[in-house]
Amino acid sequence: ATSPLTMQAAWINDAEFAGYFLGMDQGYYTDAGLDLEYLSGGPDVIPESTIIAGRADLALTTPDTTIKAITEQGAPFKIIGAQYQKNPIGIVSLAKNPINEPKDLIGKTLAVPPVNVISVEAMLKMNGIDPSEVNIVPYAYDPTPLVRGEIDASLDFTTNVPFTISQAGEEATSFLLYDFGYTIYNDTVVVTEDVLAEKRDLLVAWLSASKKGWEENLADPTVWPPKFADTYFKGTGRSIENEVYFNTAQKPLMESPEGYFALTGDGIEACLSALGEVGIVGSADMFDTSLLAEA
């Protein structure tokens, strides 16, 4: 018999979640005793809200918002894993007008999703740049203004947008915020304390099945995306080549000597200190590494 478990993804169906799709298709979750329900995300879906509302048991989140919610709203969250060891978010620009490091941003227009503004400002400060020297405007995940030169750079997934830009006939260049001091995880696996208490074994099962899925998917990043063309990727409006690019690009950001989803002492420390720069003061007890140890 399987037990139901619901997960809330961070975005619409794309290669960012290929490991889970694989796990579902291959029956890894069923084998682990789970009846997994997968909820897609989107720009207006705030994954943390879904678990607070009890609509899902676990969610993939960005740690800045999660830890901010714990410290400021008293949200009862625990982070039990991290899909991305290095946050794929970076500054993307056109090769013909390249922005290769933070100081290149001075005097330029940078489009940033409003939630990420404080992250960018923290990264700028870490690199000795006054945020007021950069013209920050809202970004809504459409690269057209960048391609057309209305903005000089945008903050987006470096695993994804460069492909889009190349499709538009331009060449992109990018750098990760991570590589310039903003050392946070991303797609952290978050649960509420209640769920952690009640469904601990199911969560462990989910972690181990997901690991299996990701291992298999990233063994050769070009193999699996085409298999989802008529299932998970149908009708998303994206192309399989795009997903293959994404899948390939994200591999180095997910791998860790400790295996997928790893939460290492150093990693947590780096994440917390980076967030500290933004004024988000978290602590190590917001992470529960014990499930990974069992998975």
């Binding site: 207006d44 879906v45 949200a75 409003p114 990420n116 405007v137 009708g235 409006g237 994206r238």
Partner: protein, 523 residues
């Protein structure tokens, strides 16, 4: 018969000219450095994507049709109740305006968390149509011919009989105008709900997936399909309206002055009424939160918001942020209001003076109503930059349509005999408009204003959220990411309260002006 055919072909010709113009502009990349794709590219792309569409269209169609039906049924029933009881109308004012002026980006996620399946989409679509149809119903019913009402009353007809025999049929063109506005609102509502719902199917979901790909032709294809859905419904109601209009117009202008109506009751009753009017929306807010069973961290009651803004630890900081955002948002809101109204009035007047031109413009107007602004903003930013002109443009596009359709309908309802007089003295079309048509449709002009004013703030907030990164819109969006629900609800409450205030100002002006001119006031 023949005149009709000729008319249609002229409208068609103008539309074709417009399309050809678009093609040329698109091909030559004249607008926004080529970010506006020509229609041919859009069509080719539509054809290539044809496999993707059926599921998406099906989902959006289902949600928007259901929302349209439910929202309008409620709206018409409520409109009838409000027309029968002005006190009820006053009581529900706050709630009505909230339904219209609440930012979808604020409610869509909350609906998604408290409902499941298609329900959030249907609800948002229904919310999108409720206010306009309700307003149209009330104005239509209130402008019924009192002479005909006298006949029914003289035979002992009840209030209900008057409603059934005189008012309702007289209001049909107005209600149809409401339904025409409701059509694009329902489609847009369904699409916006998809952004916050995380479902797999729907034009909104498709748009999201495509948004990151920087392919304007795809985005336009999706927008045009959404417009087509709304447009078919719009055209259906427009046709029906045109068929019924001739026989609905009074043969002669009614000169009767409306009787005093609600005699001002005693002071204590008025105070109680005012109190109830203010309290009811908050009570309903509170009740909805309690009924939804949503967790306290997400769903804030009026009390929670009060605490957040005035009692909590961070109250001072929250207040400061809110006030700073307001200071940025309010000035441009007033300008946006004026601009939206002016544009609507201009179009309505042109629809009388140059009907063919406006007919050809209607598809463009519909696109602005159904195409989600997220998809349009990158293009607009390229054309207009990220300054006040963009904010005005977005505010106009969010506000003008309901006002325009309402006013145009009011103008179309003016009896022909009223215009005979200036015509007999050789008046120009404009003089005729100025002296007869516009004054005669003044009640509709005010209704149009009431539809515009509370929405201006929403328009400005959308522009801030999508393009300028300032003010209330930005604060709202940022707070969403931080799960700062106290601030989200504060912004929502403040924007609704402000909208109610703007609305109330129009109502006061309307009452005074219409009473002075001996016209019936719906509010």
């Amino acid at each position: 018969m023949r005149r009709h055919a000729v008319w249609q072909s002229t409208g068609l010709r103008n539309a074709l000219i417009l399309l050809a113009l678009w093609e040329i502009i698109g091909q030559l990349g004249l607008v926004a450095g080529g970010a506006l794709p020509p229609p041919s590219d859009i069509l080719i792309r539509l054809w290539q994507d044809r496999g993707d569409y059926p599921n998406h269209i099906g989902a959006t169609l289902y949600a928007s049709v259901m929302g349209f039906l439910i929202g309008n049924a409620v709206a018409i029933a409520a409109g009838v109740a409000f027309a029968l009881s002005p006190a009820l109308l006053r009581l529900f004012r706050g709630i009505n305006i909230a339904a219209f002026a609440l930012p979808p980006i604020a409610i869509a996620p909350i609906l998604a968390l408290t409902m499941s399946g298609m329900a959030p989409r249907i609800t948002l679509a229904a919310l999108g149509v409720y206010f306009v149809t309700m307003t149209a119903t009330v104005i239509g019913l209130s402008q019924a011919d009192s002479r005909a009402e006298d006949v029914v009353r003289a035979y002992g007809g009840s209030r209900w009989t008057v409603l059934r025999l005189v008012q309702f049929r007289g209001a049909v063109p107005s209600i149809l105008a409401g339904l025409r506005i409701a059509a694009p609102n329902a489609v847009l509502g369904a699409i916006l709900a998809e952004f916050g719902g995380g479902g797999r199917w729907g034009l909104g979901t498709y748009l999201l997936g495509s948004l990151g790909r920087g392919e304007p032709d795809r985005l336009w294809g999706i927008g045009l399909i959404a417009t087509l859905i709304a447009g078919l419904s719009y055209a259906g109601f427009a046709l029906l309206s045109r068929r019924l209009l001739g026989a609905t117009k009074a043969v002669t202008l009614n000169t009767a002055v409306p009787t005093g109506g609600t005699a001002s009751t005693c002071l204590s009753a008025r105070v109680r009424m005012a109190l109830a009017t203010v309290l009811l929306p908050f009570a309903l807010w509170w009740a909805l939160i309690k009924l939804s069973g949503a967790p306290a961290m997400i769903a804030k009651t009026p009390g929670d918001v009060f605490e957040y803004l005035f009692l909590s630890q961070g109250a001072a900081a929250a207040q400061a942020r809110l006030l700073a955002a307001l200071a940025e948002t309010l000035p441009i809101t007033f300008i946006g209001m004026a601009a939206g109204l002016a544009f609507a009035f201009l179009l309505a007047i042109l629809s009388r003076l140059m009907p063919r031109f406006i007919e050809a413009f209607m598809p463009v107007a519909l696109i602005t109503q159904t195409m989600p602004l997220v998809a349009l903003t990158p293009l607009l930013v390229l054309i207009l930059g990220r300054g006040p002109s963009l904010t005005l443009w977005i505010t106009i596009s969010v506000t003008f349509f309901p006002a325009f359709v309402t006013l145009a309908q009011g103008i179309a309802l003016v009896p022909k005999s009223a215009e005979d007089l200036p015509r007999a003295y050789g008046a120009s079309r404009w003089t005729e408009m100025r002296m007869v048509t516009i004054p005669a449709s003044l009640p509709y002009l005010f209704a149009a204003t009431r539809l515009t004013v509370p929405r201006a703030l929403l328009g400005v907030m959308i522009a801030e959220w999508l393009a300028t990164g300032r003010g209330l819109g930005n604060l709202l969006n940022q707070s969403r990411g931080y799960l700062d629900y106290g601030m989200i609800w504060s912004v929502a409450a403040v924007s609704v309260i402000l909208s109610v205030v703007f609305y109330q100002l129009v109502v006061v002006a309307e009452r005074q002006v219409l009473a002075r001119l001996g016209m019936a006031t719906p509010e």
